[in-house]
């Protein structure tokens, strides 16, 4: 299965990203959106699968922001 993922950065401060992943993205895992390392907060399927492709939205937050919110 190939996961076509739309990464949207919470807060709108950074642009998002679209890319194929070959392992299922999971909440809590980290991903690079452009040069920024982010953590996945939420994942949802946005349209039915087609062939080998699954279509997902992932809401992410920059790791640095998430650390400061945890403090």
């Amino acid at each position: 299965m190939i996961y076509k993922v739309s990464y949207v950065v919470k807060g709108g401060e950074y642009p998002g990203s679209i890319k194929n992943e070959y392992e299922e993205p999971k909440v809590g895992s980290r991903v690079k959106v452009g040069p920024i390392e982010c953590e996945i907060l939420e994942i949802q399927q946005i349209m039915p699968p087609r062939g080998d492709f699954l279509f997902l939205h992932a809401t992410v937050v920059p790791v640095e922001n998430n650390k400061s919110e945890e403090k």
Binding site: S6, S17, K19, T59
Partner: protein
Amino acid sequence: MEDLLQILRRVELFRDLTEEQLEQIGKISKREIYHKGETICKQGEPGDKMYVVSLGQVEVMVRDSKGNSYSALYLGVGQLVGEMALIDEGTRSASVIGVDDETVVYGIPNDRFTALCVSDPEIGYIMMRNIAQDLSFKLRHRDFDPSDT
């Protein structure tokens, strides 16, 4: 050629093409390597080809009417960029820049792609449908509001 076919098989743009049809796409695709910060195509210039990202990420930069540039989107492996100029025959709507030190894309010239679609209408139908679905996905991405979830 087999390496290229392996890459093309994992790109949604080419979903549902047969191996023979993929080979025809492979014959008109050319590998291009860019480094971090290098321009792949420039906003306002004629668009003579579309690109499939094979390695690394590219940054889509838009310059507004006041001359300010902003980063609109990053596109990673398997994504299509530069297809709007193929569809509407207009100039580039954005600049595209390599993000990683080794950013690899496959360029598909518009004229050769169009000729292939005309000579094999099944390729033309499948590819145009897949391009439309990719544009739809990009619109959903742009319109997504995390606060709605």
